[in-house]
Amino acid sequence: MTTRALNAADRGRGPYLWRFTPLQRTLHAFVIVSFFGLVLTGLPLHFSSAPWAQGLVSGLGGVRAAGLIHRACAIITFGYFFVHLGSLVVLARRSGWKRLLWGPDSMMPQTKDLRDIIQMFKWFLGRGSRPKFERFSYMEKFDYLAVFWGVAIIGFSGLLLWFPELFSRFLPGWAFNVATIVHGDEALLALSFIFTIHFFNVHLRPEKFPIDLVIFTGRATSEYMEEEHPLEHARVAQAGGLEGLVAPAVSRTVYLWSMTLGFASLALGVTIIALVIWALLH
């Protein structure tokens, strides 16, 4: 039995191919750090009666400090959101809006995604082969759009709650009641999804266990790409673009940083899920 690389993106034959740009990797790291900041400071408020709530807040430096961290992370979130929107505009200018929205490597849901979901369930039930994905599977599109929707919804409702006096100039006061529910429940959905489903789909499922660092290192082996994104791989190969995607092996420094951030995030995420379950059962 050959030794299996810890990082799923390191497994298999072939040269490394670029999958994510430095900007995408950096933004994802910002997503992780700010999201943990928001969750750790928001969760004790959402579950203020949980046995761990008081201790967590004290550990973060008290209610005021938690509030400040939450708002600081919110600013980071708005920051990466707008940087990303800007990068989409740049991308659209380079390759056209049509390609960005409806091309094979688009993030927009398309009829193929619906077919893929159906095909996936057929495969689950032993009635068909596994669907072949393009650059982004329907799961990755869901992750992405959920964050997109989440940042917009949680962000806007959060601003309402941050500046109620300002927004009350043109919104009725009960909008803050609505914002409270939307903000907390949408955030609960986001963390519940990310720390279970996203973790499973990307890192913990047997094919990839225990971790997939492609979002941190930006590169994966050719075999990984053929398995995970066969249609994209074939499309790029046919267009003769594989040569241009060949990447050097990841440096030791980047590898160690990626491992650290990756495993720390997995551990923290699973811990947070345990806290949520504890709070719900309490």
């Binding site: 203020s48 008290g62 006096e165 009350s168 009725p172 009641n177 429940d185 959905l189 279970t196 789909n201």
Partner: protein
């Protein structure tokens, strides 16, 4: 109040002294001292009979002759050796009557361990309550009462049952909290000590209707020092209900001072422990409002230890709480901008449409909130269930494939 009593006693003492001094039968103190001032005279005998004039001369009774209290010895020596009862009540008439009706009196008579005059005031060294040497001086009262009320043997025999739990910790709690601190730490002799609330002589248990600490009398007792508050309280919804004797659905009668502030563990209203404590206190009766408050940002950050967010009394006022229908209520729609504005400076008519006790589960009262809540909850459950099934099926598929591959002898 205490000052008045002392002054009255003083006048009484002077009057008694004047009356006695004109009495031909009076025996001057100097003649008793011939024998009772000699320590050697009583060697081997009763040492309490040794009463040198010095210890007597600076007391509140310094102008009195011995026989003013020790009646029956007016003829001088030789005199009977039979002991005769000393009655303080002869002069201190009202105090005697008050003590006789107190809880101390029957226990002193029947069990002999409750205080009589001399237990608190001393025998010959009786000082005015305004004299720092006196055990009844404001700074010394709690220790004086604590001699019995903090003594485990007394607590164990009088206050052992669950309903008297408060009495077991009262003295210790008093020293740790605002009234005790004001006296012992800040030296504020105007601060309340035991006798200010329980009275000095007519000490009665709270369940006695005549007691100064009976629920019906508490507003007046506290109001004796906390001027102005009692009037506001009496005009409030709580005060009105208390006067009607009405109880709410939970069987609690309307709160009086000690229900929110406690009796002995009183803390300052600007201390963090008060901030959350008062919410729980209000919640013992206002259960639904308590729950809905804790669902809001105000309630949640307060529960986590914030002292900035509004608690009950910030919106409903500490003592002047009234129904929202009452035009003079702080939470009447006419006053909401002002009330919310005390924290949210820019509060306007829109702002005060916020519902600080909204319950999204109540669809009839809060339809928009209810549907928002239902939508968000359904979204959460829907997404998690769909992807939960997705995940379980995925793991199942891979497990089946793995087992089949193993059986077929294919290396995995």
């Amino acid at each position: 109040m205490r000052g008045m009593v002392c002054l009255a006693c003083g006048i009484l003492a002077v009057w008694v002294l004047g009356a006695e001094s004109t009495d031909a039968q009076a025996v001057p103190v100097v003649r008793c001292e011939n024998c009772h001032g000699e320590r050697d005279f009583f060697t081997g005998g009763d040492s309490t009979l040794f009463v040198p004039a010095e210890i007597f001369s600076t007391t509140a009774h310094s102008g009195l002759t011995c026989t003013a209290c020790h009646r029956g010895f007016e003829a001088g020596f030789p005199h009977s050796t039979e002991s005769k009862v000393v009655s303080c009540q002869t002069c201190h008439e009202q105090e005697g009557v008050d003590w006789a009706s107190s809880i101390h009196a029957p226990n002193a008579t029947l069990r002999g361990d409750a205080p009589m005059c001399v237990d608190c005031h001393g025998i010959h060294e009786v000082f005015r309550a305004s004299d720092r040497q006196s055990p009844t001086y404001a700074l010394n009262v709690a220790s004086l009462c604590g001699r019995c009320h903090a003594d485990p043997s007394v607590i164990g025999s009088y206050f052992a049952t669950a309903d008297k739990a408060q009495a077991r910790t009262a003295v210790a709690q008093y020293f740790e909290t605002v009234h005790g601190h004001a006296l012992t730490v800040a030296g504020l002799t105007v601060s309340a000590t035991c006798n200010d609330c329980h009275r000095a002589h007519k000490v009665l248990p709270a369940d006695s209707a005549e007691s100064s600490v009976n629920r019906r009398n508490i507003p007046q007792t506290c109001g004796a020092c906390h001027e102005g508050i009692v009037e506001v309280y009496e005009a409030s919804a709580h005060g009105a209900a208390q006067q009607n004797g009405s109880a709410n659905g939970t069987g609690h009668s309307a709160p009086v001072c000690v229900d929110c502030h406690s009796a002995h563990g009183i803390v300052r209203a600007d201390e963090p422990v008060w901030h959350l404590g008062v919410v729980e206190e209000c919640g013992t009766c206002h259960e639904e409002l308590y729950q809905t408050y804790l669902e809001t940002y105000h309630g949640k950050v307060t529960r986590l230890g914030s002292t900035l967010a509004a608690t009950c009394s910030d919106c409903h006022t500490p003592h002047n709480m009234r129904s929202a229908d009452d035009p003079s209520s702080s939470v009447n729609s006419a006053h909401l901008v002002e009330t919310c504005g005390s924290c949210h400076q820019a509060a306007n008519a829109n702002f005060v449409q916020y519902r600080p006790h909204a319950d999204p589960r109540q669809g009839d009262r809060y339809p928009v909130l209810h549907w928002t809540w239902l939508f968000m909850t359904s979204l959460l459950i829907g997404v998690m269930v769909f992807f939960g099934i997705h995940t379980v099926l995925w793991v199942t598929r891979l497990t089946i494939d793995h087992v089949r591959a193993g059986k077929a002898g294919t290396p995995s």
